[in-house]
């Protein structure tokens, strides 16, 4: 099952105070996806798979894709607050199932610590937000955009999704978008870099059933970060997907969607 380049629905509407791009497809139980620092290049194969049984809602975060960038969003905490506003404005009934990828996983975890009523179940894919006790979170800002993108994959050359979106000569618009995403990320996570000094202390307060998925070959977020999340959130599970890099939702869509659906069913 391949993804398509375009989402079944791709619209820009005034939501949560800004013009917001929302990709949406499928029907069934709503599933909100909070993307990470790379943004969303299109309708991913994993979304396609999940939309067989879910109404998959993928907003471009403020400053990403064609969503506007408000000046006031300067931290992941700000972003988390915006996401809850977005859900209200979009008429998404809570509690809702949520997937948060990488930096988006961090935002989701922030919400879970203060608004447990927001979630039904929570999936964190390679979540940022916690300082690893071993190793370091990859510093995107000492390398160029393409290096960061490639590093999200264990084997970019054989990843269908990588090849589909990035394995070609990029247009000026596409490279500008990569830079735009880096800049918005920079505005929110510069210092402390990609982690919070409070989040780890608050994770034990989370009551949401949580699954942490990470590629076994994650070279962006050390596996220790996922392990810390799992040991701090009561009842959480940490699953690694063999042969995948950081962007597990892109590099191993079948395995990722399978794990998510199994978790939602249980």
């Amino acid at each position: 099952m391949a993804g398509t380049l375009n989402a079944p629905n791709d619209t820009v509407a005034r939501l949560a105070g800004i013009d917001t791009q929302v990709r949406r497809g499928g029907s069934g139980t709503p599933l909100l996806v909070i993307h990470g620092e790379l943004g969303v290049p299109g309708w991913l194969e994993s979304y396609s798979r999940l939309s067989q049984s879910h109404d998959v809602i993928v907003p471009s975060m403020p400053g990403f894709g064609s969503s506007q960038r408000p000046d006031w969003i300067m931290s992941i905490h700000d972003l988390a607050a915006w996401i809850t506003w977005f859900a209200r404005d979009s008429g998404i009934n809570t509690p809702v199932n949520v997937i948060g990828c990488s930096m988006g996983g961090w935002a989701a975890a922030e919400i879970a610590t203060v608004a447990p009523q927001f979630f039904n179940k929570l999936v964190l894919a390679g979540p940022m937000g916690i300082k690893p006790s071993k190793g370091e979170i990859f510093d995107y800002f000492l390398e160029n955009g393409m290096t960061g993108l490639r590093r999200n994959f264990h084997q970019p050359e054989s990843s269908v999704e990588f090849q589909r979106f990035y394995g070609k000569e990029l247009t000026m618009e596409e490279t500008d978008l990569i830079e735009q995403h880096r800049e918005m990320t920079c505005r929110m996570v510069w210092k402390p870099y990609m982690h919070s000094l409070t989040l780890a202390n608050l994770l034990p307060a989370i009551r949401t059933p949580t699954l942490i998925v990470q590629g076994s070959e994650d070279r962006i977020t050390p596996l220790d970060c996922g392990a810390q999340y799992a040991s701090a959130i009561p009842g959480a599970k940490h699953v690694t997907v063999a042969g995948s890099g950081h962007a597990v939702e892109m590099e191993k869509p079948q395995e990722f969607a399978g794990l998510v659906l199994e978790f939602f069913k249980a």
Binding site: C186, R187, W190, K191
Partner: protein
């Protein structure tokens, strides 16, 4: 105003082994400081300071100092310390080009230090402010995405600290101070002349014009510099005033020796392709990379020179940035584009008359020591500039003012 002539040197750490630069492919940000040798640096400081002193003795109106971090390009990690030393070593003006405002979390400290310098020097300070290079944002952990916002807010805060009686409270976006009340204020009233240094970022030129402060072109080619002046004057026209020459400074790589041939040879030390410092050896093209630039994309790590948000889309695509990139690539190309002005006294006088005719800068700064240029050659260059070149240029009125024909660029 009478045109003023300054001497500039980055005072770079030129004693690193060439093979280390080859091994890493860069000499900034991540170039390991285990390569640094304090004994060599001590000697370099004495040599560089002597060169400044000599420029003052030879009739220069002043010296220019600067600040960079994590970079062999310059050993000046505090422009205010450099300036403090120069107040004791030279007679004339000391222009700081300058304090990189966004890297500071307390800009009032900068206001205090400049006031100290102005008092200690008896009012000889020009206070330049810059955004800092991309590398400086990374090495001091200043968020590049807010670089311009921080620069402008810090500028407003410093200016207010100098001009509005304290104590007052500052609640901005990036800066928050409960009691702004620096005890020492500058000797020059209401404050020392302020310069904004830049590398062709149109936003900075427009901003400087709006603030009516001097814009200093940092080492750019002549055509681009002429365009800068036009932008500045256009903004001034819209605001209903006419800038004098004191609103433009021009800092330019200069190699003068007794003959054109010698000057051409010594000029190579100013170019990235030979042993000039702070440049990417692998590409040899990034002549001005060390000062941060819209054209820095040719350096070995362009993402260091332009971290996210540091360079606006406008500046990246600007016509001036393109013009600049086109001139990079070879030493001869850099000479041709006017990125390095070289010649014996007669030739270089004619070249600078041409430059003055096209740009009319109130402040002309000769970047006359660079890289591993031998000390003796540097001293001879300074002597020729002071004794032969500056006296000829001091009274030269720009064709922009006289309406006369532009002095032709010499044939050879």
């Amino acid at each position: 105003m009478q045109r003023q002539f300054f001497f500039f040197s980055e005072m770079g750490y030129n004693a690193y082994p060439e093979e280390e630069a080859d091994k890493y492919g860069y000499t900034s940000l991540m170039f390991p400081n285990s390569i640094f040798d304090p004994q060599k640096a001590r000697d370099l400081w004495q040599m560089f300071l002597r060169e400044h002193e000599f420029a003052s003795e030879m009739g220069f109106d002043g010296s220019v100092c600067n600040e960079h971090h994590n970079n062999v390009l310059s050993m000046q990690e505090s422009v205010n310390i450099s300036a403090a030393v120069l107040t004791q070593r030279i007679k004339g003006t000391i222009a700081l080009i300058g304090n990189p405002l966004p890297i500071h979390d307390n800009p009032v400290r900068v206001a205090e230090e400049i006031a100290m310098l102005d008092l200690i020097s008896g009012g000889r300070i020009i206070s330049g402010f810059v955004r800092g290079t991309g590398i400086e944002q990374l090495s001091t952990n200043a968020n590049p995405a807010y670089n311009r916002e921080r620069f402008e807010e810090a500028f407003q805060l410093i200016k207010k600290a100098w001009t509005v009686p304290g104590p007052f409270r500052w609640e901005g976006k990036h800066y928050h101070l409960r009691v702004v009340n620096p005890w020492q204020l500058p000797l020059q009233q209401p404050h020392p002349p302020i310069w904004a240094g830049g590398i062709l970022s149109p936003e900075t030129i427009r901003w400087a014009a709006k603030q009516r402060i001097t814009y200093l072109v940092l080492g750019s080619a002549l055509d681009a510099t002429a365009s800068c002046r036009e932008i500045y004057h256009e903004v001034a026209r819209e605001d209903g005033w006419v800038p004098g020459p004191e609103k433009l400074g021009y800092l330019i790589h200069t190699s003068v020796m007794d003959t054109d041939e010698e000057a051409f040879e010594m000029g190579k030390y100013h170019y990235g392709g030979t042993s000039a410092i702070g440049r990417g050896k692998s590409t040899g093209g990034a002549l001005t990379q060390g000062t941060g630039s819209a054209g820095a994309s040719s350096g070995p790590h362009p993402e260091w020179a332009a971290p996210p948000g540091y360079i606006s889309a406008q500046a990246k695509q600007g016509a001036m940035a393109r013009e600049r990139r086109m001139s990079e690539g070879t030493y001869e190309g850099a000479i041709k584009a006017g990125l390095i002005v070289s010649g014996g006294p007669k030739t270089i006088i004619q070249k600078f008359k041409h430059i003055i005719d096209r740009t009319d800068p109130g402040y002309l700064t000769f970047w006359a020591r660079e890289g591993r240029k031998p000390h003796e050659a540097t001293m001879r260059g300074i002597e020729l500039l002071g004794k032969e070149v500056i006296p000829e240029l001091r009274e030269h009125k720009s064709a922009l003012v006289t309406g006369k024909e532009v002095t032709p660029w010499p044939e050879h």
